[in-house]
């Protein structure tokens, strides 16, 4: 037996730390060589960490979202002593810790490690940990079990749990015992399995058992508040005869729309007082009657019960940890908006000539060449305009109070990827021709989307283009890619009526929505820049004239 420690690898690029963005394994998992353990992110590149050995995960050294220094231990793996023993676990699916541990025939240290981990244990209390799906069918089961309490038969299936402090636990136990299948399962000491086997129909047809301790437990719990006694009595009286016949009819007949919910006046009153629409409440009683217990459950779970009636409020709240790329996007956007006073300038551009040229070029292009979009034209126009207004193509180090005006035009292209917004960079656009720009944009976009873009390819832009392309939209208010000072937004090309001095004519029009850092770019200069772009794009020949 050996412990193998995996440390945060040096993911290159001179970074000293990386953010852990995903665990592919959990403690107790059996891993083989090259099984991916985790993913870490440095700036914008994601690196996966494979396992160099075969063994069982015993320790994970970081939470998702933690920034971990290079060289810190992040995973510990128990390596099996001999290949034969490990092979025994090969057939076991990963993610079933207890099975895996049992099948590998691990020796005591490993078993101890397993017991220390919070894996589901097959104890009677295990039922209490079950989620709502398990709870759903249990009330009727519990009810029928209660009904059975009055029956003289007493074929004990399983002993009552020693401690039933909560109401949910005893009812689940009762459910287990009400189900013959579940009863067998309980005999096999498999509590959690038993609850998964609980179906309302089968539970209702349960054979008489002896759940009286449970029934007593429910009563003794007394947590039904003031109506506790009444409902308990009611339950015992009204469900007793029903239990006998419930094998012939399913208690879960969906209520037809518009039909009044079945509930006793006391239940109705309680629901009214609590502001609950009984049509939303699932009835587990005979013929779908809504019992006090159903109402209790509905109240305790916060009205999430699906109803056959369709629309209902969804009050669920999902917590999503903002990690990885999303966190970086969030940070960067916040910084941009917090620090940069944006001025956004929107102008329309008649792209009739440009589109005609583009169509022509695409139609006659050499098969090796990429299909042209608007972007390479815009890039070239920007290069041209920037030559006249170099202050637009800059990095503003606002902490130092220095503007770095770049000679090279490195155009970031905002790209939507499966994991979020990325900005690959077309370097030295001033040194690329139209086709080269197009080729580079395509290559980088593919790399970004497939997650293979390198760190270099994702950094170093001096100005950025953003386009929502086919999504349409008349105008956008782009957020500057901090610490740049300008971003040019492209809106969808639309045919609009244009006044040519005498009449309206249809023309392909495209809006440019561009934002500038008003600290260093005056509104006038921003407008001059955009007007220059407009002139170039409307008369595309100008782009190519040196």
């Amino acid at each position: 037996m050996a412990e193998f420690i995996i440390k945060m690898p040096d993911v290159g690029e001179g970074v000293a730390e990386a953010e852990l963005i995903e665990w592919h394994v959990k403690v107790g998992d059996l891993v083989r060589e090259d099984t991916i353990l985790a993913a870490v992110m440095t700036d914008k590149a994601t690196v996966e960490i494979p396992s160099p050995v075969e063994g069982t995960i015993t320790w994970l050294g970081a939470e998702i979202g933690d920034t971990v220094a290079v060289g810190s231990p992040i995973v510990k793996i128990e390596v099996a002593g001999s290949a034969g023993e490990v092979a025994g676990g090969d057939g076991q699916p990963a993610g079933e810790p207890s099975n895996a541990a049992g099948a590998t025939g691990v020796s005591s240290p490993e078993a101890d490690a397993d017991e220390d981990t919070p894996t589901p244990s097959p104890s009677p209390q295990g039922g209490g940990e079950l989620g709502e799906p398990g709870m759903k069918g249990t009330a009727s089961s519990a009810a029928s079990s209660k009904a059975d309490a009055s029956a003289p038969s007493s074929s004990v299936v399983a002993p009552a749990p020693p401690d039933t402090p909560t109401r949910s636990a005893p009812s689940l136990e009762a459910a287990n015992r009400g189900d013959p299948d579940a009863g067998d399962a309980v005999g096999d000491d498999a509590g959690p399995n038993a609850t998964t086997a609980v179906r309302p129909g089968s539970a209702a047809s349960g054979t008489p058992t002896s759940p009286s301790p449970v029934w007593g437990g429910v009563r003794g719990g007394g947590s039904i508040a003031s109506t506790g006694t009444a409902s308990a009595d009611l339950g015992s009286v009204s469900t007793a005869p029903a239990g006998r016949a419930s094998s012939t009819t399913s208690p879960l007949i969906p209520r037809p729309t518009g039909e009044k919910p079945l509930a006793s006046p006391a239940v109705r009153l309680r629901a009214k007082e609590a502001g609950i629409d009984l049509r939303q409440v699932h009835g587990t009683g005979p013929a779908g009657r809504i019992t006090h217990e159903d109402l209790d459950q509905f109240i305790s779970r916060g009205a999430q019960q699906p109803s056959p009636a369709g629309q209902q409020p969804n009050t669920s709240v999902e917590e999503i940890k903002v990690v990885g790329l999303r966190r970086r996007i969030a940070e960067k956007m916040s910084r941009a908006k917090a620090r940069i006073p944006h001025i956004t300038y929107v102008e329309e551009v008649n792209v009739e000539a440009l589109e005609e040229l583009r169509a022509r070029l695409n139609a006659e292009r050499h098969p090796d060449r990429p299909k042209l979009t608007i972007l390479p034209f815009l890039m070239r126009a920007m290069v041209k305009a920037i030559a006249e207004q170099p202050q637009i193509n800059a990095i503003f180090d606002d902490d130092a109070g220095i503007i770095h005006r770049h000679g090279g035009v490195h155009v970031g292209v905002a790209t939507q990827t499966p994991s979020g917004l990325m900005v690959p960079v077309v370097r030295h656009a001033e040194a690329r021709d139209l086709w080269d720009c197009a080729r580079e944009v395509n290559r980088l976009a593919d790399a970004a989307r497939s997650g293979t873009a390198s760190r270099e390819e994702l950094t170093g832009s001096t100005i950025t283009i953003t386009s929502l392309g086919a999504m349409g939209g008349i105008a956008t208010t782009p957020v500057i890619n901090y610490p740049e000072v300008a971003i040019v937004g492209v809106n969808k090309i639309m045919v609009r009526p244009v006044w040519d001095g005498q009449q309206f004519i249809p023309a392909k029009m495209m809006n440019l929505s561009s934002s500038f850092d008003h600290r260093v770019i005056d509104g006038w200069d921003a407008a001059v820049f955009v007007q220059r772009l407009k002139a170039l794009l409307e008369t595309p020949a100008l782009i190519f004239v040196e």
Binding site: S238, A242, T249, S264, P265, K272, P286, A287, G288
Partner: protein
């Protein structure tokens, strides 16, 4: 006179209005109730209560008559009985009086201010009441209209003289020798039966093809049989055309178009009741209507904010217990509680001989509603207690969904069966299934066993039939 300002004003102190006012008072709402007549409304003064008193007296007298005839199987015989009907009426009036003062003291105990007089809306927040001492203006945040219903008069045979309504019938000085009853609904038949037992020669004239049109033929059959035994002549499909020229008879037209005259000392007209929507200023507030009734929603709210309506003025069934339940609910709504009308059933009882009870859906109604049903019926002829009470006529019938045995309706006809209406209603409100009724021990020997047996019958295993 000084204006009254209050949180709630209730117009009408019938079983809807007075209950609403008492409940509101209990809930600490500053409440005023306005009533021109005596507290208790139609029900207490000229309806349910006095008619039941007269029916009881009639039953007792009829029993004595049977004993006197010497053919009673119990072997009891005595001399021919006589009845001083004015004393009977006085006894009835004392009961009514006791209940009147009971309602008044309950209102007082609940802290409700009673104003005697006729109320009229000035606007949606103000009532003018004509009292003995002058006009009283009441300003209320909330007003409940509980004006009830009024007898329907035949235009060609207005009330007066020998043409009487149930109100006069219950206050006659003596039993009429010959009585014609126009209208074979429950009021006409209850009173017609009573007077027949008191010795009147009774003819019931009904324009429709059957009496008690709200109940199915199975339920009315024992009643018809009994009417026949009592010598009551029931003429269906026959129209009343007017008073005979001498004022001592009723002109009728048969289905064939023949006109005949039935001699009658009194002509009791019971052709229904209409919601009382006039005389209290409905036109001042212009509420939305639903036919002849005031339109209400499931919280008894009318189309005007702050104005509620309950009872007969709001629709069928025009029954006291419906008004009572509405009144109670409205008081709680006004007190800020969340309430709405969620009753599954309103029981209807007909105090004929034998009595009829119906709660929920009849088998036909259920089938018309697209419900596949199973029906269990148990005859009182097989019930020991019914035999010992000489009340073997009739049965209990339980109607349940065929798919899950949920009880959707319970009907019955039989002597004294009105008292079973409570258990019938309870079963429906509790959403009982057949098994619930079958599995509940019903005390022996009682007529209620018939209920359990009917449920067992529907389940396919009745014991005693």
């Amino acid at each position: 006179m000084k204006e009254i300002s209050c949180k709630l004003a209730v117009i009408g102190a019938g079983p809807g209005g007075y209950v609403c006012a008492i409940r509101a008072g209990q809930l600490g709402i500053d409440t005023v109730i306005v009533e021109a007549a005596k507290a208790g409304g139609t029900c207490l003064n000229v309806g349910c209560i006095p008619s039941k008193a007269i029916i009881h007296a009639a039953d007792e007298f009829y029993r004595a008559t049977k004993f006197a005839a010497g053919r009673d199987p119990l072997g009891i015989s005595h001399g021919s009985p006589t009845i001083d009907f004015s004393q009977t009426v006085a006894w009835k009036d004392r009961i009514v009086g006791r209940l009147n003062s009971g309602v008044v003291s309950l209102l007082k105990k609940a802290g409700v201010k009673a104003v005697v007089g006729h109320a009229r809306f000035r606007d949606g927040k103000t009532l003018e009441v004509e009292t003995e001492t002058g006009q009283q203006v009441i300003r209320a945040e909330t007003i409940v209209i509980a004006t009830g219903s009024a007898r329907v008069e035949l235009p060609f045979m207005p009330f007066g003289g020998n043409v009487i309504s149930s109100t006069e019938a219950l206050a006659l000085k003596e039993v009429p020798k010959v009585l014609a009853v126009v209208g074979g609904g429950y009021i006409g038949l209850e009173l017609g039966t009573a007077f027949a037992k008191l010795g009147s020669k009774v003819t019931v004239v009904e324009a429709l093809p059957k009496i008690l049109p709200l109940y199915d033929a199975e339920l009315t059959r024992p009643v018809l049989k009994r009417l026949d035994e009592l010598g009551v002549s029931v003429m269906t499909g026959v129209k009343a055309k007017g008073l005979a020229s001498d004022g001592k008879g009723l002109v009728i037209e048969t289905a064939e178009g023949d006109q005949k005259t039935i001699s009658a000392e009194k002509i009791l007209v019971t052709v229904g009741r209409r919601p009382k929507t006039d005389g209290w200023g409905l036109e001042e507030i212009d509420l939305d209507m639903a036919g002849p009734f005031i339109r209400i929603d499931e919280q008894c709210r009318t189309s005007m904010r702050g104005i509620y309506a309950i009872g007969d003025v709001t629709g069928e069934p025009m029954l006291a217990h419906r008004a009572t339940a509405q009144g109670e609910m409205v008081a709680e709504i006004i007190a800020g509680k969340r309430r709405s009308w969620d009753k599954r059933a309103i029981p209807a009882v007909c105090f004929t001989d034998p009595e009829i009870v119906s709660v929920g859906l009849s088998p036909d109604e259920a089938r018309q509603g697209g419900i596949e049903v199973k029906v269990g019926q148990f005859p009182f002829a097989a019930n020991g207690r019914a035999m010992t009470l000489q009340g073997e006529a009739g049965f209990v019938r339980v109607v349940a969904r065929a798919d899950n045995n949920l009880v959707v309706g319970i009907q019955g006809v039989g002597s004294g069966i009105s008292e079973l209406s409570a258990t019938f209603s309870l079963a429906l409100e509790m959403a009982a299934r057949l098994e619930d009724i079958a599995g509940t021990i019903h005390a022996h020997p009682t007529q209620s066993e018939g209920f359990q047996e009917a449920a067992l019958k529907a389940l396919g295993h009745a014991i005693h039939i």
